[in-house]
Amino acid sequence: MDKNELTRLKKEAAEKAKAAAIKRRQEKERQASESGQDLELAKKKAAAAAKAKAAAAARAKAKAASTEKKEEESSVEPSPNEPLLQRYIQIIERQVGTDSYEEYYINRLSKDVPTILAKPHTYMDIAQVLKQQLHFDFLAELHGTDFETHIEVYVYLCSLQNGQSVVLKVKLDRDNPMIPSLVPLWKGADWPECEAYDLIGIKFSGHPNLKRILLGEDWIGYPLRKDYKPHDEGV
């Protein structure tokens, strides 16, 4: 092999290598640009997805809000006992007077029971109307509660023939809680009134035998009052 031949071969090889290198570079560049496009595309895709997701979330939120609103609306719907309450109030207004009660409402928490808050001086009259005109013949419950600002008597009445219930409440002065006894109307009020007298200190005027039924006559204080201090603390 002569020298010229060798240089030609070398040159050829170098050119080949150069071309291959260029080709490789070009290929690489192409790939790089493609992958860049891919990345961009993926980015775009991800952004779109995120957008969609956000939109969906927003939609869901809106939907939840609207159903919540709907639920709220439905809970504001008048109770099935509303007409009954209106009827009771009408009769009470006619019989006892338009200003005989402090307020009346449907107690949503207590199976929608119509609730009437009487004034102390009309409590007995309203009770009478409830029994005689509206046939609430069954006294299911009577008790008192110390609400610190006042004492409340809670009377739950039922009408066995009509299958209705009503709550009669009255707020009393905490220092001298005094109210007419319901025993003349419902004999079943006897012991519950004694219990309210015993534990809360409510005096029921006209009660045939008001006594400290559970604790005994020598007990000091009314235990269910919020400020009650046991007399015999050492025990």
Binding site: F138, E141, H143, Y156, L160, W191, L215, L224
Partner: protein
């Protein structure tokens, strides 16, 4: 000439026929009762005051100790009141477990009444039979919740324990057995002439008197008033079962006896249906927060216990403890009529009249 003078006599508080610590101060002239004054409060534990410092779940064990013969209904009335206020829906499986346990409790309670009532009247063997069957119920309940009387089984939103394997089958087996035994009871006692003479026409009151005195349960139904809160104001899942409300017209101790015996049969009917419908799986406790805070306000919820209408009043100020808790305890209301019933009665009828009211002193005194 024979001379009689008025005598003051204390019956109780440790007299066995008063079923606990109950005292009756009676004025007698000869054998006739002139005046009777009940003295109660020996078992007053101040449950309502204690509850004001306890969370709702912590109060449940206290309710067990009121009517300790049917503690399941006491558990239920408290949980139901909180659930009503907080608007919690109880899973089906839990409601079935509740109904099954409550009805088992009702049967057990009536069995104790039947046995002890006859024991008071001088018949010893019925007591043994009644307690044999009651023991089976107590064993069933024990297997479910690990306690024989003070179950502490229910929770706000459901029940604490699921039925163990094979438990329902045992309840199902108990139903026909109990029916057979009930038949035996009737053969043993119901037609007995001595028994009939002691209870028929004794302790009679009218329908109007029963209503006026706020009587409930069998004490009211024995005068012909068809009132049962399971039917009239259905709670839990009682509207899914068909059962009757036994009533009688006479209003005497005998009709109360008949009502209660029939109520056992009706409870067995409910049990039968409940076991058949029992959901095969599902949760036994609703998703409720660990600390339950009912909304501000008040509620009074009543249900039918073996002794009558048991009620629970909750005044909530939105805290985890109730501001005020009050139980309407049926025995307390039912006992009010006793002085009226005893006036002018023969001394020997005292026990027959008192026993027929079916009181539990833990409930009378609260």
């Amino acid at each position: 000439m024979l001379r009689t003078e008025e005598m003051l006599l204390n019956v109780g508080p440790q007299h066995p026929s008063t079923h606990g610590v109950f005292r009756l101060v009676i004025k007698i002239e000869g054998e006739i009762i002139k005046e009777a004054t009940p003295v109660i409060g020996y078992l007053h534990r101040g449950t309502e005051k204690l509850a004001e410092n306890l969370q709702y779940t912590q109060i449940i064990p206290y309710t067990d100790r009121m009517d300790y013969l049917a503690a399941m209904t006491n558990n239920y009335v408290l949980c139901h009141a909180v659930e009503t206020m907080a608007n919690i829906t109880v899973p089906d499986r839990a409601e079935y477990l509740r109904v099954i346990t409550m009805e088992l409790g009702r049967i057990a309670s009536h069995l104790v009444w039947w046995g002890t009532y006859l024991l008071d009247l001088g018949a010893t063997s019925p007591f043994l039979y009644a307690f044999r069957e009651r023991e089976m119920i107590i064993n069933l309940l024990n297997e479910l919740c690990g306690a024989r009387l003070t179950f502490n089984y229910m929770r706000v939103g459901g029940v604490k324990w699921d039925a163990p394997d094979g438990w329902l089958e045992k309840v199902a087996e108990f139903i026909p057995y109990m029916r057979e035994q009930l038949h035996g009871y009737h053969q043993l006692v119901t037609g007995n002439e001595i028994f009939l003479n002691r209870v028929k026409g004794v302790g009679t009151y009218t329908r109007e008197e029963a209503i006026a005195y706020s009587l409930s349960g069998a004490n009211l139904r024995c005068t012909g008033v068809k009132r049962d809160l399971r039917k009239d104001e259905p709670y839990s899942i009682y509207n899914r079962f068909s059962f009757g409300v036994p009533t009688r017209e006479a209003g005497d101790a005998w009709s109360r006896y008949e009502c209660r015996m029939e109520e056992i049969e009706e409870s067995l009917k409910i049990l039968e249906q409940a076991v058949a419908q029992f959901p095969s799986d599902g949760p036994i406790l609703a998703k409720v927060p660990k600390i339950i805070k009912p909304p501000k306000g008040e509620a009074f919820i009543r249900i039918e216990s073996p002794r009558g209408e048991i009620g629970c009043y909750i005044a909530s100020d939105g805290k985890k403890e109730p501001y005020r808790l009050k139980f309407r305890r049926p025995s307390f209301y039912n006992l009010q009529i006793l002085p009226k019933l005893l006036e002018g009665e023969n001394m020997a009828n005292l026990i027959a009249i008192l026993g027929a009211i079916d009181i539990v002193l833990g409930e009378v005194d609260g």
